[in-house]
Point group: C2
Chain length 186, copies 2
C-alpha cells in the first residue's frame, strides 16, 4: 500500500473538535492570574507555566501523531518545520515560520505573528519579568521529548514585551535513541 | 431597517475563531490540577473554579452579544433557552437542553450530554467532592449578572460522579433593573 502522506495543518484543523478561541484565551488568562496570586514570584510563575505546558505536550503529541499522519521526521530541520506549519495550525489555528538556523542545524527560531493566547492581554508593570505564553515553550519541549528529542526552548522576542513578533528559540540538546514512552496495549 | 434576527449557534460557532478542543481540555485539566495542589481542600477548589468562571463570564457576555445578534430576552425562560442552544454551541461547540422548569418560571435545569471539559478525565478517590466543571457554573452566573440577572447555579448531576448527564440548576434570584455595566465609548 502506498504510504499516506502527511495532511496539511489547515485540513487537520478543519477536521478536529474545536472550542471558541476567546473562551480559551480567557481561560488561559485565568490560569496565569491564579498562578501570579498563588506563587507571587514571577519567576516561579514562568516555571509553573512551562511545567504545565510540558505535561500537556507529552499528551498532545499522541493527538498530533494520530491526526496528522506525520511519521518520523528525517531530521531536526524537518521536525521544526512540522511544528511550525502543522502543529501550531492544528492546535491554535495559526501558522508559524522557522528561521535563524545555526550552522549545525540544531538550533532555530519559531516565529509567531498571531497568537490567540494574548488577545486583549496587557501586562501590568509588576509583571514585567513574566513570560506570559510560557506554556507554549513547555508544550513543545514535552511533545519533542516524547519523540526522543531533548530540547531547550526559550523566548527571544515577545509581543507583550514590545517586540513585533513572538520568537521561540528551540535548541536540540540530545537526540536519544528511539524508544516508545510506553508499550502498546496489543 | 428590519431588525436582524438572532443567528443559530451552529452558524456563529462556524464563524468564530477557534482552537483545538483537546488543547483546551488539557489546559483546563492543568488548572484544576494546579488548584488541587495549591489549595488542598476540594471545597476551596470548587469555589476558585466558580470564581474563575465568573470572571470569564462577565467578559464573555460581550463576545456573545456581539456575535449572536441576540437582543434582550423577553423573560428568564427565553434566556435559559438561548444559553443552552446558542451559548453552549458558540463557546464549547455542544448543544444543551433546558428542562425541569418550576411553576414560577424562575428555576430550570440545563442538561449537557456532551462536555469537552471532561474528555479523558477520571477523578481519583481523593477528589470525590470536586465539581470538576465548576468553571461553567461560574461563567453562566457571571454572564447573566452582566445582563441584570442575579442567579444561583448549582450542579444536580455530574457524569464524573457517575450520573448519565451533566445537569446544572439555574435559579433566578433577582432581576435587577437594566443598567449597563459600563458606558458606551460614544
Amino acid at each position: 500500500m502506498a504510504p499516506v502522506g502527511p495532511r496539511s495543518g489547515d485540513a487537520i484543523f478543519a477536521s478536529v473538535e474545536r472550542v471558541n478561541a476567546e473562551l480559551f484565551t480567557l481561560t488561559y488568562g485565568a490560569i496565569v492570574r491564579q498562578l501570579l496570586t498563588d506563587l507571587e514570584e514571577v519567576e516561579e510563575v514562568n516555571k509553573q507555566l512551562d511545567q504545565m505546558g510540558y505535561n500537556i505536550g507529552i499528551r498532545l503529541i499522541d493527538e498530533f501523531l494520530a491526526k496528522s499522519n506525520v511519521s518520523r521526521c528525517v531530521d531536526f530541520k524537518e521536525t521544526a518545520e512540522v511544528i511550525a506549519k502543522v502543529g501550531f495550525k492544528m492546535f491554535l489555528g495559526v501558522t508559524a515560520s522557522v528561521t535563524n538556523w545555526d550552522a549545525e542545524g540544531t538550533c532555530c527560531s519559531i516565529v509567531l505573528e498571531d497568537n490567540p493566547l494574548v488577545d486583549f492581554v496587557e501586562l501590568p508593570d509588576t509583571c514585567q519579568g513574566l513570560y506570559y505564553c510560557n506554556i507554549l515553550s513547555g508544550v513543545i519541549r514535552g511533545a519533542l521529548e516524547m519523540v526522543s528529542m531533548k530540547t531547550e526552548v526559550t523566548w527571544v522576542r515577545d509581543m507583550l514585551r514590545g517586540d513585533d513578533v513572538f520568537e521561540l528559540q528551540v535548541k536540540l540538546l540530545k537526540q536519544v535513541p528511539e524508544e516508545y514512552p510506553y508499550k502498546d496495549d496489543e
